[in-house]
Subunit: 405 residues, 2 copies
């Protein structure tokens, strides 16, 4: 159950560029299950760190700790320690003790300040994290650190994911070549305001903290914040970006760097949707002609989160009436008589009415594809946004009706 | 598929009081399928009419027509004509022509103004309504009008409903006895701001238009606007209330009347949830201690609409971490360290932490019930609201992945 690889998975894990100054290790610490790789350590020799996090009011102790530490981020060695099996969320004072225990263990093993250790935890909510097991695994993790360990690291942070997620880029800047490599995990509790995810991206570019934070936030808004699997926002969403400067190449003010970083985010975000729990189809929703970008985003998310739209897609049913419904419930401005809808290139409805040449047969044939585009034009402004989601299938129910056992 | 009666259904259709001055008829007009009862006519001899409607920006032509007519509502004879099979939504100018065609046919057959004919349509969105078939059925409907026809009327408006929904009340006011009888249909596209429904309630009380509208709106806010099946809001939601005054009893300013009307709404609203598509369990979510009532409602709906909460309930999994998640994503104020959660009387978490005496075994046993209560106390204010929903099961996917075929 839930172990078959998603039909939307990429053929294989990509060859990622090695990022100078970054080493990885993973291990089985027995956080929840014995013999399953469940902790990952990344050590960055000299890092500028930026991040983005869930906006949940019940966010976890590790998220709060990362947020605090990023406020006073400086350079120097940094470490990311991630565990699966237990999210250390809603664990009160014990949650903070667990974060401190793990950070101190890493700081001690690596001879670095605990204020530069960032932790993430994913898994069950509300159960005290057996952090001592993780602390005990740190010395062995340190001894296993390897610049080539990123794929194993991607595997270590999987929960209900059916494939490990990685993406990379290499670009030429005026001063030379820089590299970006990132990993992510999904795959349920995925929703707006940081899809429920853990994402770690590394680059050897040289860039200041403020600028790295700004390009990270902007790219996150157009990628991870525009995907949804099930509308549920996690208490643990974390994106961390570390720039080592090992390339010696200055990326400050370079649009090409910001674009490459966004492309890596985009690739990882789509992989998360491709591994959405039970996903059989990938759905891209292109909203145009809305009052503004925020309203376009709102309409896109209303469509992407609609159980009726998602089940229609699962059933390969060209039920465009449900898209009209979702636009109507979104709360965004819409004029029924200016609304147009298309499936791929097939115009279904125009100006608030079924297109005269609409063929249900063509639309039904289109719905059989594995990757679908739904276009919605509001006809009232120039706001546009694209969001991505997957279908809602029996697989989602199978996975989530009995996740904990 | 979808034809087995919900396990949450009442044992039988209730005995409803006969409302003086109201007669019903139903027929098979072949709107979408041949030989299926799909139109219902209610004629009210002398009616004060109030209503509440979907707030969807893509709401249907019949909804817009009802809203227009209620703005100038006076007394006199009134008629409700409802069809299933086609919602006459997103049908542009043809939609308005269809409404006019039906209203004129009823007005002609009953010798009354078309401005007093209210229509509702439910079913597929975006296909022109073959309204002539309905108009053709009107003379036979008129000839079949019967004061005892309410149960058949409730059956005529069913779509994916698995049982007809009715509720009634009789109360003594200072001037004498008044009666209330109502019918409703669900059962998908059920969400906040008028659950996706058609509801018709009749009373023989004497009451003015403004007061009837006010008590209807207030009661609707605490009942139909607090249920959700799938978070999807229909383009056709309609609630109409007609008071005939046939009892001769004045209900003006009578709190007992407003309470009885709300009780009928509440009963019908819960029947809609009990017949939620694929529903196996009824879930009551009691939110207390929120900043205010609106925030309590928001938190309740975030929990009730969470696919992860609903699948956990379907799987009888006491996964209270998902409730913490839903509170966190709601956008309402919450303090993790003041949050308490209970399943029925079992306190699961208190002050942001698992209750010391929490027994997973007891909670798991509780989850096996068919009707569940989840209590969430925010501990930060005195706002309270209760909402109702059902679980998310394979049945929902079965019904909605291929509704149109």
């Amino acid at each position: 159950m839930g172990t078959k690889v998603s039909p939307l998975a990429p053929a294989r894990f990509p060859d990622l560029p090695v990022i100078g100054g970054v080493r990885f290790a993973s291990a089985a610490a027995g956080v929840r299950y014995k013999g399953r790789t469940d902790v990952m350590l990344a050590v960055i020799d000299d890092a500028v760190v930026a991040g983005a996090f869930t906006r949940s009011s019940t966010r976890s102790a590790p998220v709060r700790d990362c947020q605090d530490k990023l406020e006073y981020a400086e350079g120097g060695q940094a470490a990311f320690l991630i565990n699966s099996g237990n999210s250390n969320a809603f664990t009160g004072r014990l949650g903070e003790e667990a974060v401190d225990g793990i950070c101190n263990a890493v700081a001690h093993a690596l001879q670095m300040p605990a204020s530069r250790v960032f932790t993430s935890s994913t898994g069950v909510i509300g159960e005290p994290l057996p952090w001592q097991r993780i602390a005990d695994a740190v010395p062995a993790l340190r001894d296993a650190l390897d610049p080539h360990g990123i794929e194993a690291a991607a595997r270590a942070i999987m929960t209900t994911d059916t494939f490990p997620k990685g993406a990379g880029a290499e670009i030429e800047l005026p001063e030379g070549r820089v590299r970006i490599a990132g990993i992510a995990k999904g795959s349920g509790m995925i929703a707006p305001d940081m899809a429920t995810m853990l994402v770690y991206v590394f680059t050897d570019a040289r860039i200041g903290h403020e600028e790295l934070q700004a390009v990270t936030a902007a790219a996150c808004n157009r990628t991870f914040n525009r995907i949804t699997v099930d509308s549920d926002t996690s208490t643990s969403d974390t994106l961390l970006v570390a720039a080592t400067g090992a390339s010696g190449v200055d990326a400050s003010g370079q649009a090409a760097f910001a674009q490459a970083l966004e492309a890596v985010f985009h690739n990882l975000a789509l992989q998360v949707v491709r591994d959405g729990e039970g996903a059989q189809k990938l759905l891209e929703i292109q909203v145009t002609g809305a009052m503004n970008e925020a309203e376009a985003h709102k309409i896109g998310m209303a469509i992407a989160n609609s159980p009726l739209v998602k089940t229609a897609v699962a059933g390969e049913d060209a039920n465009w009436g449900r898209i009209v419904m979702a636009v109507g419930k979104s709360g965004a401005h819409a004029d029924r008589d200016r609304l147009s809808i298309r499936f791929g290139d097939i115009v279904v409805a125009r100006d608030g009415f079924r297109a005269p040449d609409y063929s249900e047969e063509d639309a039904s044939a289109y719905m059989k594809r594995q990757e679908l585009i739904i276009g919605v034009d509001l006809g009232i402004g120039s706001g546009a946004a694209t969001v991505w989601t997957c279908d809602l299938t029996h697989g989602y129910i199978d996975i989530n009706a009995d996740y904990r056992s």
